[in-house]
Structure formats: structure tokens, C-alpha cells
Subunit: 386 residues, 2 copies
């Protein structure tokens, strides 16, 4: 970390080393890491932090998110979650910001016998991968969280699945990036050709499709925010992820009294809040934690995640364009993947050598992703990715 | 109706004939009626239309609201509902405003056998009062509203229970009152003694307790507003009032695509929206009309109704204070009772003679309601009410 600001640079009008498109957590963290390495960084975004992160719950859940057939993604999630404690500490040291980072762990629960059977199948898979999942008897579950409904049939603890508050994270990342010398340009980028930098990083979430021809599509998620009455903290401490009568829901408690309840996963590109989604989320939430019925409903909102064909992010140079790096497609995992994405992309920018961790996430793993990017200059072509 | 404006009066600085406290529908309709009779009227309210009417659904439901043990209230509801067609026509003529007045009638339905049994007990009572209630077989019900859930066990039609949109009604009443010459003073009234008028009308909703010592208490109601997707009208035309698994709910369709879903009745004075209330309302609504799950949830809101010990309004002079008239305590019935309240209070102001319809609703029916009103002058005392 450096405390350098742009005004101490010798030539502010020189061509930037890195242009980052998108000031969500991914773009800002890349900008912070690059600027801290002494690179000249410009971040372009007309509305920083207004994308998927504004809606995200902030679960850091490599274990609970480990799903059948997504083994390489799970590896990256585990790697990034392992980096989170140091990342959070460094960010807090750089900014003084409280990130709402909490380490109580995640309880995974099943309401009915059917729910529990479905959950156990997944927990067994997660254990086979060597991930830390500890099954709990109902009595052990209630010792940990007495507020759980007595109907809950069983559960398991994922002690390393933590949480952070994205609405605190993004402003902190912006502060850290700017203190390290990155410059934020609050204007949209319509074509990559508008940018003049040695390397361009496309961290534009769903916008990466139009900007760089990447197979990123919006995946709608509806999320609620409740608040414990009387300004007290919620009556539970763990992140709770449950199956309730076939409905999946997560409940993320914050010290402020807020509880995030989410989320739908819908192949739609609108951000309307639907009565049916709110009903399903509230029903599942109240079935698992009856006291939530007494909480205030303070926000109903929908956001668009940047989804990809294989649910994994797209990280690395565009085919035939080593000067344009993708860092998008993080889907449901943008917050947990922020540290590893920032580290690996900043390393790639500064060394030109891709970390082996990036290999499964290259843009060229998708057929038809080609150099359909018009207008940027093409220096540095071909000399970075083997 | 007159088109007179204040500037045509001979002496604008003269003492008003009538000071109305409260610019909700009741206060504004009284002001309109009084001004139209040639009286000099001033209406005091820092935030016109911001009380219970801003949340109200606008059902004009004397029949569906006819409840055991509230016979005199039912009589007044029926009387006022009968005045609504002419009142709406006159208001539209005076202002050109669309009031969202609709006359398709109200369908009362029961989802389960238990729900239907409970509803039928009430319908029988309503029929014994001579009110127009027509039981319908399930097939007749679905002929009228094909969108009703196939589970709905039975229902009845109240053809004279209509609806209006309170958010259109209140601005129209304000326009009508001002065009008739009433003057709106956008400031709060802290004590009746601040006012200098021949007659004061307390139409301050819940505020009537502090202002005039009346037994009016806030009764919280939570209400949702949904919207049919794609900007079309809802897929049903009647107001629907249902029992669904023991939960009572109403569904009010508007031409704009809006559907009002309400309402809780809670002895609380906060206006927080609770997760449990939204869950119960949405669950009942979707059980009765499954297509509502696809509607957008566009508003969740809570308001405070002015409730009274016997659920009936308080209309007429305070005991020992014939110059101070109460027009408050309308509880769930403020919109339907607007025409009769305005007519009867305006008559009382201009003739000094109370209509016999007012007798059951006198303020002095409550023990302990006395002349606890400080500071107003006491001319006209004792010469109006027998």
C-alpha cells in the first residue's frame, strides 16, 4: 500500500498505464492494487457502485456456494475467501473504514425432511471436496441459534463462510483506490476505442457484453432488507442459508439491525420487484426464523448479476488482444471473488505473466469470443498470454 | 356549486365564518360544501391530504363493511354511499377531475370451507339488515372473475359497494374547495384558541385527540400497492374482499394497472411496515388471485386511521361548545362517509339545526368528553344543539 496521490506524480497528463472500465468492487479493487504497485490508473464509471454490488448481500461463502459440477469455480472461491481476512485488514488499515466484516460462519439448514435430504446431498458433496462442513443435530443447531424455528429438521456449520457489507466495502475500495493514486472519471465508456491506456481492464459487469463482446448476460436477483425493531441487533449471529419447503433463502444479519434476505435467480433483465418473489422470500425467511415477522421491511430491490455460460467469471486477455483484460462475469460471487480477482489481474498487468489460477477462466474458453473489439490501438498484442 | 373565488369577496380581511382544521377528504369536503353555501371558509393544514387518506384504498362499501353490532354506523354508511354517485358527478363537474370512481361492485369470497362458513355468517347478517347481497355459486363467481383461484369455495356480490381513488379524490376536493372560495392556510394549528372564526370544525383525524380532547386513537393499517406488468389494467374488475385461510384481505383494481391490497388493523401508533404484515397480505392476495404473484410490488406503506371507542365517527358540537364541531373518528370509513359528513356538517353550520342522522354520532355519547377546549371565544354557545 502506498499513500501516493495523483498530485505527487511527475506528469499527470501522461498516458495512463491502466484504464479500468467499471467502479464496482471488482474494478475498484483492481484499481487499488494496480495503483499501489505504482501504476498510473484511471477508472471510468458514471455511477460508481451502482451495479450488482448495491444489491448484494456480501456472503463470503465458498463452501455453501460449492455446487455440483463447478469444481474449478469452487477452487477459486476457496482461494479468494482465504485471502479475505488479510484483504479486509489491509483495506481497513488503508481507509479506517468499517467493512461489516464478520466471521461467525454460516449455518446451512433444512426445514422439512425433504429439505434436509436435499441439503444433505450437497453437504456430502462439499465434504468430499475436503471443504469444512460440520453436520449438526437439531439441538446443536438451536444451541448456536435459539431463534431458529423449532420445525427446522437439521443443519450444518460452514465455519469459514464469512460475510462483509457490500455497501460499506465499495466506498472503502473507492477511498483506497483514490488514496493510492487512481483517478475516477465519472463518465460512461461507450466504446473501448475511446480509451487511451497501455492496458484496459473491462470490469463493467453486465456492460462487458456490449463493450467487449463477452458472453455476459444479466441474471436478475430480488433481495429484501429487514430491520430489527427498536434499533437492536438481529436475534441471530450466523449467516443462515436454508431450504424451506423447497425454497432456498439466505439471511444475513448485520450489527446495525439489518437482515438481508435473498435472493431470486431469474433469467430476466428488468429490475422490477414482483409480489411473488417478495412473498416467497418472506415466507421462507419467516418459516426458518419466526421472529423476522416482527421486523420492519425497509427495502425491496432487484439487481442484475453478470452471469456467464458456465457460472464462472471471465478473467484475462481477450483473444488476440493482450492489452484488453476481462474481469467480469462474477455472477453470484463478485464480493467473495474481489480479492483474488484484484490480485491476479494486477499481477498480470504489472508482470505480463498470467497466474496459473487464471487458466480455467480465460475468455477464450467460450466459442465465438473473438477480437470483436473495435477502435483501441493494439500495441502489446500477443506478448502476454501463452 | 359556485365559481366564486376569494378575490371577489367584499372584505377579505373579515373574520371567517368557518375555520376547518384538517385538509383531508373530510375537512376539504366540508370546506367545499360550506364555501358553496356562500360562507367564508379557511382550512388549516400544514400537509393537506397526508393523513389516512393517502394510504386508504377508497372502497365505498357499506354492505361489505356492515358488521355485527354496528347497526347505526351501517345506516350512515348506506346513506353516504347512496350520496356518492351525485357527489362524484358534482365534484367532477366542478373540477374536471377523474376520481377513479367505479361501480362494478364488490365480490366477497371465501377460500376454504372454514373461510366460507365465516363469510356466510356475515352475509346472512347483512341480508337480514335488508342490504343487497347476492350469494353466488363458484361457477357464477368465476364467470364474473375468471382470475379467481379455482380453490375459492364460494362468494357473494354486493353490487352497490363501489370504489374511488383517494389519491385522486383529495386533490379534486382541494380544487373544488378553493374554486368555491375556501382559503387554505398551510400551517399547523396547535390550539383551537389560535383560530378566530364563528364556527370551528375539527376534521383533524387522529389530531382531534390533542386538539379537542376527543376519544380518537390511531389504528395502524398496512397497505400494499401492486401494478400489473406491462402497463395494462389488472385482470379483474370487481373489488374483491376475501377470507383466505383465516386472513381477511381486500383487492382493489384501478384502471391504471394498480391493485391496492389491504389492510392490517393494529392498535399501534407507528407507521413502520412489518415483514409479517406484508407476508400475510401477499399470501392471502395470491391465494385468492394467483396472477398477482406476477405483479410488481410498487409500494408498501402504513397509515393511521382515527379510531373511536365504538368504531363510529364523532360528528357534531362539543359538549357545551356549539361553536366547535367535531368531524373526525371515521376510522376505516373516511372515504365512504365523506359526502354525508360534508352535507350534514355544512347544514349544521349554515342552519344551526342538526340533522337527525347526526344524533347517534354526537361527541357527548362518550363519558368524559367535556369542554376541555381552552382559548376559543364562546359566542353562539348553547343555541345549536337540542
Amino acid at each position: 500500500m502506498t499513500g501516493r496521490t495523483p498530485s505527487t506524480r511527475s506528469d499527470d497528463r501522461a498516458r495512463p498505464d491502466v484504464a479500468v472500465v467499471g467502479a464496482g468492487p471488482i474494478g475498484l479493487a483492481i484499481a487499488w492494487r494496480c495503483a499501489a504497485r505504482g501504476l498510473r490508473v484511471v477508472v471510468h464509471d458514471p455511477a460508481p457502485g451502482s451495479g450488482a454490488s448495491a444489491v448484494a448481500a456480501g456472503m463470503l461463502s465458498p463452501v455453501a456456494e460449492a455446487y455440483f459440477g463447478e469444481r474449478e469455480l469452487t477452487g477459486l472461491l476457496v482461494e479468494s475467501a482465504a485471502r479475505w481476512p488479510a484483504f479486509a485488514a489491509e483495506l481497513t488499515e488503508a481507509t479506517g473504514a468499517d467493512l461489516g466484516y464478520r466471521t461467525e460462519g454460516t449455518l446451512m439448514v433444512g426445514l422439512t425432511g425433504d429439505d434436509l435430504a436435499e441439503a444433505r446431498r450437497l453437504w456430502a458433496y462439499q465434504q468430499r471436496l475436503g471443504l469444512p462442513v460440520t453436520p449438526l443435530r437439531p439441538s446443536e443447531l438451536r444451541d448456536r441459534e435459539p431463534a431458529l424455528a423449532t420445525r427446522v429438521r437439521g443443519g450444518a456449520l460452514a465455519p469459514t463462510d464469512h460475510q462483509v457489507d457490500p455497501r460499506k466495502l465499495v466506498p472503502a475500495l473507492r477511498t483506497a483506490a483514490e488514496r493510492a493514486g487512481a483517478v475516477l472519471v465519472p463518465a460512461p465508456v461507450r466504446r473501448l476505442g475511446e480509451l487511451d491506456a497501455a492496458v484496459t481492464v473491462v470490469a463493467a459487469g453486465c456492460g462487458a457484453a456490449a463493450l467487449a463482446g463477452l458472453p455476459v448476460r444479466p441474471v436478475k436477483g430480488q433481495v429484501l432488507r429487514l430491520r430489527a425493531p427498536g434499533g437492536v441487533a438481529p436475534g441471530f449471529r450466523h449467516v443462515i442459508r436454508g431450504y424451506a419447503d423447497g425454497e432456498q433463502v439466505y439471511l444475513v444479519p448485520r450489527d446495525s439491525g439489518e437482515v438481508v434476505v435473498g435472493a431470486t435467480v431469474e433469467e430476466r433483465r428488468d429490475t422490477d420487484v414482483s409480489a411473488g418473489a417478495v412473498l416467497r422470500l418472506l415466507r421462507a425467511a419467516v418459516e426458518l426464523l419466526p421472529e423476522l415477522a416482527e421486523y420492519d421491511l425497509v427495502e425491496t430491490v432487484a439487481g442484475l448479476r453478470p452471469g456467464t455460460p458456465d457460472n464462472a467469471p471471465i478473467l484475462g486477455p481477450l483473444p488476440g488482444r493482450p492489452d484488453v483484460l476481462a474481469a467480469t462475469g462474477h455472477h453470484r460471487h463478485g464480493i467473495v471473488l474481489t480479492p483474488v480477482t484484484a490480485d491476479l489481474i494486477a499481477d498480470l498487468v504489472s508482470t505480463g505473466e498470467p497466474d496459473p489460477l487464471l487458466a480455467p477462466f480465460r475468455p477464450d474458453r467460450f466459442a465465438g469470443v473473438g477480437p470483436a473489439v473495435g477502435g483501441t490501438d493494439s500495441t502489446m498484442k500477443g506478448d502476454r498470454w501463452n
